[in-house]
């Protein structure tokens, strides 16, 4: 029998070492028994590769097989719609937290401007190998109706300490809002308009790759976007380094 590529290995439940009260040591920071391996620590960086698309505070989720934020060709969840239309990460993170396959979530503290970078560290308590772990990290291109970028369900493989992985994120269209580019429909600084609207009025109501923005520069006279807001694939670079 051949091995499956997508190993669905359940995490080996680490025996939670019971903390033994130790009369000779009352240092509150020293709560880990000496024999316990250090938990995996990942340093994750997101770099905004666009010219004029600030990216909303990111929703970053480390998980195992069995969690999927979205799939091309399928309708977006309400939580993904809120991220893609309004830049709100929390609904997606709340949904993830309720999923038993999710290991850890991180909420980006702020938007990242064009050319900007956000680097942070996640500690995966009780986990000592990245084998079987996947990363999903999503952020809205805020000067659009419902475009978002990032990585979707990419494998972390078996990283040794010091190893890095890098991905270039495509741009998806959530399929939840028509790309009118019209005043009042875009939450970013190009417009300052509405974020999430629960109406679903796009052509197909499924997630697809984004076709880009037209802007006034190419004849969409009702667009609030100009040539500076155009983008191409990829829109974000994501690097993961195992630091512990």
């Amino acid at each position: 029998m051949r091995l499956r590529t997508l190993k669905q290995l359940a995490v080996l439940p680490l025996v939670s070492a019971l903390l033994v009260a130790c009369g000779s040591d009352d240092d509150d920071d020293d709560t880990t028994p000496v024999a316990q391996p250090d938990p995996v620590q990942l340093q994750i960086s997101l770099t905004n590769l666009t010219a004029g698309q600030p990216q909303s505070p990111a929703a970053v989720i480390v998980h195992r097989a069995g969690y999927l934020a979205f799939n091309e060709g399928e309708a977006a969840s309400v939580a993904l719609e809120e991220l893609a239309e309004g830049g709100a990460a929390q609904p997606l993170l709340d949904d993830a937290t309720e999923n038993s396959h999710v290991v850890k979530t991180y909420a980006g503290p702020a938007a990242v401007g064009p050319g900007g970078n956000r680097t942070f560290t996640m500690t995966l308590d009780g986990i000592t190998s990245t084998e079987g772990l996947y990363l999903t990290g999503l952020t809205m291109l805020v000067n659009t109706n419902d475009a978002f970028t990032g990585v979707n369900n990419v494998s972390l493989g078996n990283l040794a300490v010091g190893d890095s992985l890098r991905w270039n994120g495509p741009v998806w269209d959530a399929g939840t809002e028509l790309n009118t580019e019209a005043a009042g429909t875009i939450p970013g600084p190009a417009d300052g308009g509405e974020g999430t609207n629960t109406e679903r009025n796009d052509h197909n109501n499924v997630v697809v790759f984004h076709s880009g923005v037209i802007t006034t520069a190419e004849g969409l006279t009702t667009s609030v976007l100009d040539q500076s807001h155009r983008f191409d694939q990829p829109a974000v670079a994501i690097r993961v380094t195992r630091v512990q």
Binding site: R2, L3, R4, T5, L6, E72, G73, P170, V171, D173, G175, L178, N179, D202, H203, N204, N205, V206, V207, V208, F209, H210, S211, G212, I214, E218, G219, L220, D232, Q233
Partner: protein
């Protein structure tokens, strides 16, 4: 002009026919408003290919890219002892499925032999002059599992991208597409985006449709709010059993 080394041009002796793997393949059209015509897909050996970037298209590839006709590719593949898609009808290799609408998916099977370790796929993009979604000589993993690939849009380099209705197959499934706000169809009256002679001559990454928002004039008969894309245009899920 030197034609690329095509399936039709190359023959490999049929191998013993040892059964290698059953592939279940799902193609998802991940564009907002572009159709895929019926899908060609086959597992074949490493001496043949359906296209190579930087090389001129074969006649069979041209027929697929300009008119959505995959019969030439199927014939060439069969002649090269390839294992062709069953179009979702198990036991009927040589069938095809599609068209595939924006956001839609099709699933088909390929029962591949040991000697055919490479996967290729092509389907025309509508509306375009000679654009197609393509995969060429992807090495089929020997380890069972589920694999995901993003596919790009290519330009066959055989026809200038004038984006005029008269140059683009007028498939009923395109003109009947949703037509939101009257923008869903290829219109007419355009003056042409490029001139004859600008076809480039070799298979390359498609620059995308330009389009415009004028349904009765302008340079293009293609709609810029609906018929554009950025690569990739498709997601392929390959289950190797």
């Amino acid at each position: 002009m030197i034609k690329q080394f095509t399936i039709a041009a190359a023959m490999a002796a049929a191998a013993a026919g040892a059964h290698a793997s059953e592939l279940q393949i799902t193609l998802t059209n991940a564009t907002q408003g572009v159709y895929f015509t019926p899908v060609f897909a086959a597992a074949h050996n490493d001496t043949v290919s359906i296209f190579q970037t930087g090389s001129a298209a074969s006649d069979a590839l041209e027929a697929m890219a300009e008119g959505g006709d995959i019969s030439g590719l199927v014939t060439a593949a069969t002649n090269a002892s390839a294992n062709v898609s069953d179009g979702g009808n198990p036991g009927a290799p040589g069938a095809s499925n599609g068209p595939v609408g924006p956001g839609a998916s099709v699933t088909f099977n390929i029962d591949s032999e040991d000697s055919n370790g490479y996967l290729s796929l092509a389907a025309m993009l509508l509306p375009t002059n000679d654009g197609f979604v393509g995969l060429s000589n992807w090495k089929i993993p020997t380890e069972a599992g589920t694999y995901h690939i993003n596919l790009n849009a290519y330009d066959a380099g055989t026809e200038a991208n004038d984006e005029l209705a008269a140059s683009i197959p007028n498939a009923p499934f395109v003109s009947s597409f949703g037509n939101p706000g009257g923008n869903g169809v290829v219109t007419s009256g355009g003056t042409g985006v490029t001139a004859t002679g600008d076809e480039n001559g070799v298979v390359h990454i498609h620059r995308g449709n330009l389009g415009d928002l004028d349904n009765s004039a302008g340079a293009s008969d293609i709609n810029s709010s609906l018929h554009r894309w950025l690569n990739p245009v498709a997601r392929l899920t390959v289950v190797v059993n």
